[in-house]
């Protein structure tokens, strides 16, 4: 097993070198062939990339759901580049797919290509991330998480937990990538929720860029600058996981001395929650495949769909995490 892995690594090394040579050629290997001729619904989907475990689970969910729903999926990986995504959407239009869905890499700059899709009569569904187009008729619906709600759920749980507290509760916040929608919205939702209790106070708030290493580095300084931290609110699991190490190194017990609330519920985060190191996670589910397929069928059939559809999500306490962990997909 180990030697096979080693072999894989070496093969990967060579593949990478080959890849470097043929970078110009890659991109839309999945989009060839004709389509739209038979009665099977054809869905063209352009994914952001494979930047995180969350995104990989998102991709898997969409692929599996398409297969289960009998939908022909044309999948494109944009590798975090808007131009790749625009190219992919134009390809989908040329191939006359029935429905186009995509997770926009960035918020702006989509009007032209969305107009082309509209002119071609192909309905578009946005998943996970929104676009800032003024013309809302350019796409049928936006299926994704409500980040404000996630922040609010996290805040509401804390308000509930600290109802009896008489003294001030010092909160530190690890924000996501500065300016990104999830960071802005989760911050906003959380701040609104904790306003219900004047004892709850955010004493420090910094960007950890959604990364473990940065979350840890920021937490180290938080701990040194603020001797009495009661609560950590991290905008994703990874930053919380990084902060765990900083808290332990400072001689404190995560989950007990410092209450930790995060968002996402990826596997490592759920494990930490089940182990009692985290206290609460508001889920941000990547498993929107089945909902997307249902929507695709509806818009194909010309049915009216709401302009905004939320992903089905929940929250986890330590006990719920223990119960849910064995069946987690990501």
């Amino acid at each position: 097993m180990r030697t096979r892995r080693t072999a894989r690594v070496i093969i990967a090394a060579f593949a990478g070198v080959l890849l470097a040579g043929s970078m110009a050629a890659c991109g839309n290997s999945d989009t060839g062939g004709d389509s739209g001729g038979d009665d099977k619904l054809v869905l063209g989907f352009s994914q952001v990339g494979a930047e995180s475990g969350w995104r990989t689970a998102n991709t898997t969910s969409i692929k599996e759901a398409a297969a289960a729903a009998g939908i022909e999926l044309k999948f494109d990986d944009a590798q975090q580049k808007q131009e790749n995504q625009i190219k992919a959407i134009r390809n989908f239009i040329q191939q006359k797919v029935d429905v186009i869905a995509f997770s926009p890499v960035v918020e702006s700059g989509w009007d032209t290509v969305l107009k082309e899709a509209k002119d071609a009569g192909i309905p578009v569904i946005l998943t996970d991330r929104a676009v800032d187009s003024a013309d809302k008729t350019l796409y049928k619906t936006f299926l994704g998480s409500d980040f404000v709600k996630e922040g609010r759920l996290a805040g509401e749980w804390l308000v509930e937990q600290t109802k009896g507290a008489s003294g001030p509760v010092n909160i530190v916040e690890l924000q996501g990538t500065t300016g990104s929608a999830p960071a802005n919205d989760r911050k906003e939702g959380f701040a609104k929720a904790i306003a219900a209790n004047p004892n709850l106070k955010i004493v420090a708030s910094q960007s950890g860029d959604f990364k473990r290493a940065d979350g840890k580095q920021v937490m180290e300084q938080f701990l040194k600058a603020n001797p009495d931290i009661d609560v950590l609110f991290a905008h994703n699991d990874d930053m919380g996981l990084g902060a765990l190490e900083a808290i332990t190194a400072a001689g404190k017990v995560p989950g007990k001395d410092i209450t930790i609330i995060t968002i996402d519920a990826v596997k490592d985060g759920m494990q930490a929650l089940a182990d009692g190191k985290f206290n609460f996670i508001a889920e941000c589910s990547p498993l929107l495949g089945p909902q997307l397929m249902e929507l695709a069928k509806k818009v194909e059939a010309g049915e009216e769909v709401p302009a905004r559809i939320e992903t089905e999500e929940t929250t986890f306490t330590q006990e719920q995490a223990k119960a849910a962990l064995p069946s987690r997909k990501y």
Partner: protein, 356 residues
């Protein structure tokens, strides 16, 4: 006044004076903001405090910047170091995560050897492109910078690999004689590079290649071989830095590990006073540069500067550092201010001073 300036001239004329001053000013500003900033205590048998954090966190950057210094001294540049950090960390963590006993020393050493070996091969690939095939260094290493990120994600299958290995963790978080192991490794690497370049003719040869590769070749130096070598050394440094980064958080993130560290490393080299045009280099300056960059980052967190303005804050400090270091700029400022007491000499002679 004039005699005072003259007395301090040997000090202020030293090429490392200005970066060192910047570092001291930053630490002082932090101490004013929070008096406990510089305090260090012993916790669980090792030193604990912000200065220790700065040293530990700057270790990977010091390593990468050391390799970068040599590459830049030959007139080249290595953009692939960030991706190499990610690849080496990913390979090591993948190997450890597959093992039955993650705490076994042999597993960890095999993982390190495997990852280090792959990094050397990739460094040789860079060297080959630059030295043998003659591609511009910025383009040659750009290939691996882009493809390497993909390669790292291929190895991790797009996931974050979490490991639970005591020995591997020690590379990033362990302590020896109460000091973080990471900084000891970085200092050891720095001493090794310094010994190799300053106690032998190697440093001089590197500088001569950077000054004029063709002239060096005609003088009997195998320029190509030296250029090839520095890319391999740079990759080796990046690999060790990659181990530290992944060990620091016990996980390999192919997408985020070492992201943009090539830019920080280039900045550290420049702050340290090495010219991007190649030629003379300063290892001590590079280390100071790396410490300045890490202190800057820590300052943002310690002072809780708003994330939306922190990038601007960093940029302003970097510009200030670069301006202070520029002899032309300093000469202009002092000429304007001290119009009545003109400075007799320009700052040309200081360029002749050599320091390791």
């Amino acid at each position: 006044m004039n005699t005072l300036t003259d007395r301090f001239r040997p000090l202020t004329g030293h090429r490392l004076f200005w970066p060192a001053l910047v570092l001291v000013v930053m630490l002082a500003a932090n101490t004013v903001y929070r008096p406990g900033f510089l305090s260090v205590e012993v916790k669980e048998g090792h030193l604990y405090g912000t200065p220790v954090d700065i040293l530990r966190l700057s270790a990977p950057l010091i390593l990468v910047a050391l390799g970068m210094t040599l590459v830049i001294a030959t007139g080249g540049i290595d953009l692939s170091v960030g991706s190499l950090c990610a690849i080496s960390g990913a390979i090591a963590c993948l190997h450890i995560s597959e093992a039955s006993d993650q705490n076994s020393l042999s597993t960890v050493f095999t993982a390190l050897a495997l990852a280090f070996g792959v990094a050397l091969v990739l460094g040789a690939w860079n060297g080959l492109l630059v030295a043998v095939i003659g591609i511009q260094p910025i383009i040659a290493t750009l290939i691996l910078m882009v493809a390497g990120r993909g390669l790292a994600q291929l190895i991790t299958e797009g996931q974050i690999i979490t490991i639970n290995s005591g020995p591997y963790r020690a590379i990033g978080l362990g302590h020896v004689l109460t000091l973080p192991l990471a900084i000891i490794i970085a200092v050891a690497a720095a001493l090794l590079v310094a010994a190799l370049t300053r106690r032998t003719a190697l440093g001089l040869i590197v500088e001569s290649v950077g000054g004029n590769a063709e002239a060096s070749r005609l003088a009997g130096i195998r320029s190509g071989r030296i250029v090839f070598l520095v890319y391999v050394v740079s990759a080796a440094c990046a690999a060790i830095a990659g181990f530290m980064m992944t060990a620091n958080v016990s996980s390999a993130d192919g997408n985020a590990a070492g992201l943009w560290i090539e830019l920080d490393a280039i900045l550290a080299v420049v702050i340290g006073g090495t010219s991007l045009a190649g030629g003379r280099f300063s290892l001590g300056g590079t280390i100071l540069g790396a410490l300045i960059i890490q202190t800057l980052t820590t300052t943002v967190y310690a002072m809780n500067i708003d994330p939306q303005t922190s990038l601007l804050f960093k940029a302003v400090v970097v510009i200030a550092v670069c301006l202070i270091q520029s002899p032309a700029f300093r000469a202009r400022v002092s000429r304007r201010r001290g119009a009545t007491t003109p400075r007799p000499t320009t700052r040309q002679p200081e360029k002749e001073q050599v320091s390791a």
